[in-house]
């Protein structure tokens, strides 16, 4: 199978209504593991993820996957900060991405059942997805994203609205996905979470990649003043 990585961004920029939100960004996404995008609110983390995933139009510069854009889209998934729950049962929500890919209904449903077992959603299969609790919704979002076995998974602050135990469940799922070889790019402003999960860190500030390093290096010896301040829990503006 041809990999869609590396993803190369050369001066990639994103605008919304004439206002620059992100860029120019030079960055290459490659290798394995989990890349954590951290930075203050409004730094452009979300837009950066959406830009890479293709939800946000590239308004300048270049963004290139190793394969064609159409092929690349088939092998990635996105988990949103606020889970988007379809108005259907958990089982049908899980089967949906498979049906989109042209899988037969019976096969998709049986795969969805297996998937639900792995993500602790087995007892909720017949529940109405919008009625789930916050933690369950986000777990369903993750399961729905991972059911297509994406090569790259984007997550936009998936634990932002969750409590401790729900966050631990999500982190466990992410660790397993990482071990299974899924390349993960995740935004978070929880420094504890960043330390627990990250292999690589992108410190995003004012719409640009302010600092980019291996996690160990970044947390022990940040280079820029802003990154140092952010790690120390100071307010970075």
């Amino acid at each position: 199978m041809v990999s869609l990585l590396p993803l190369q961004l050369c001066g990639a920029t994103a605008h919304m209504r004439g206002k620059k939100l992100v860029g120019p960004v030079d960055y290459t996404l490659e290798g394995t593991g989990l890349t954590m995008v951290i930075g203050p609110n409004g730094a452009g983390k979300t837009t950066f993820l959406r830009l890479m995933h293709g939800l946000q139009r590239v308004s300048g510069g270049e963004l290139r996957w190793a394969v064609s854009a159409i092929q690349a889209r088939q092998k990635q998934a996105f988990v949103f900060q606020t889970p988007i729950m379809m108005r259907r049962k958990v089982l049908d929500s899980l089967a949906f991405p498979l049906l989109l890919r042209g899988m037969g209904k019976a096969e998709a449903r049986s795969k969805a059942r297996q998937c639900a077992r792995r993500f602790g959603l087995k007892d909720l299969l017949d529940s109405w997805a919008p009625m789930l609790s916050g933690g369950e919704k986000q777990r369903l979002s993750l399961a729905r994203a991972l059911i297509i076995e994406p090569e790259v998974l984007f997550l936009d602050e998936p634990c932002a609205n969750l409590d401790g135990s729900a966050t631990r469940e999500i982190e466990g799922i992410l660790q397993r996905a990482k071990l299974a070889g899924t390349r993960i790019v995740m935004a978070s402003h929880d420094m504890g979470q960043a330390r627990r999960l990250a292999d690589e860190v992108i410190f995003f500030h004012k719409g640009r990649v302010h600092e980019n390093a291996r996690a160990g290096v970044f947390f022990s010896a940040p280079v820029t003043r802003e990154a140092r301040a952010f790690i120390n829990g100071e307010i970075v503006e």
């Binding site: 939800l55 088939q74 998934a77 996105f78 949103f80 988007i84 259907r88 949906f96 009625m131």
Partner: protein, 234 residues
């Protein structure tokens, strides 16, 4: 006020003496309106979904026209259908004028814009909710419409029922194209118009009450069926 009291009595008598003429009229009313509602839904619901997920030049104008067509005067529609179906008209060869089929055609023209417009508004809201997810999942345009129609079905019922309501109470167009012929094209509304004209107010009132009760029963039945299917807020 005794006229209204008489009307109630007449309605009661008509229903419970199983007046065959009445049941014939009720049956034809339902046949015409249910057929028209189904056909208009098959056209209007996908049209609403299509308008919600597609961006094209002049979209706003199409929607504005659609909304305007919701208030299409039935008499005018009747006139157009009459001219199209009359012997000299472009569709005259089918010999459909003064048949239930002609009435169905007229009703479809009247209620399709209504169903399309209401379903467009409903689906537009759901699309705003689903947009990022469906784009992220790479759903094709057709798949997007399919998902929106499926998941919005509870709300779309309202669009269909609004269409049904307008069609069952409509008189101007079906009077023109159906002709209100006894045992052939006489339905509840045209019968009411006729009986009122003849001065049979009590009978007309009775038919009117039957019409209202019928509309309420159908709406209730559909809502109950819709809810038993899935127990939840939608």
């Amino acid at each position: 006020m005794s006229g209204i009291g008489q009307g109630f009595w007449e309605a009661w008598r008509l229903i419970f003496t199983f007046d065959p003429a009445l049941y014939e009229i009720i049956f034809l009313s339902l046949q015409v309106t249910v057929s028209a509602t189904i056909i208009a839904s098959v056209i209007g619901l996908p049209m609403g979904a299509w308008l919600a997920v597609n961006r094209f030049f002049g979209r706003r104008y199409v929607i504005a026209v659609l909304n305007a067509l919701m208030g299409l005067p039935p008499v005018v529609v009747g006139l157009f259908v009459y001219m199209a179906l009359s012997r000299a008209g472009p569709l005259g060869g089918f010999g459909l004028l003064f048949s239930p089929m002609a009435m169905i055609i007229a009703q479809v023209i009247i209620i399709t814009p209504l169903i399309a417009s209401i379903s467009h508004q409903t689906i537009r809201d759901l699309w705003a909710e689903y947009h990022d997810l469906l784009i992220s999942m790479n759903a094709t345009r057709y798949q997007r419409m399919q998902a929106l129609l499926r998941d919005g079905k509870r709300a779309l019922l309202t669009a269909t029922l609004a269409g049904f309501g307008r069609a069952i109470g409509e008189v101007g167009a079906i009077m023109i194209v159906g002709g209100n012929i006894e045992h052939a094209t006489r339905v509840l509304t045209t019968a009411i118009a006729l009986e009122t004209g003849k001065g049979n107010f009590a009978f007309a009132m009775g038919l009117g009450l039957v019409l209202i009760v019928l509309a309420v029963i159908i709406n209730l039945a559909i809502h109950i069926i819709g809810k038993t299917e899935r127990a939840s807020t939608w």
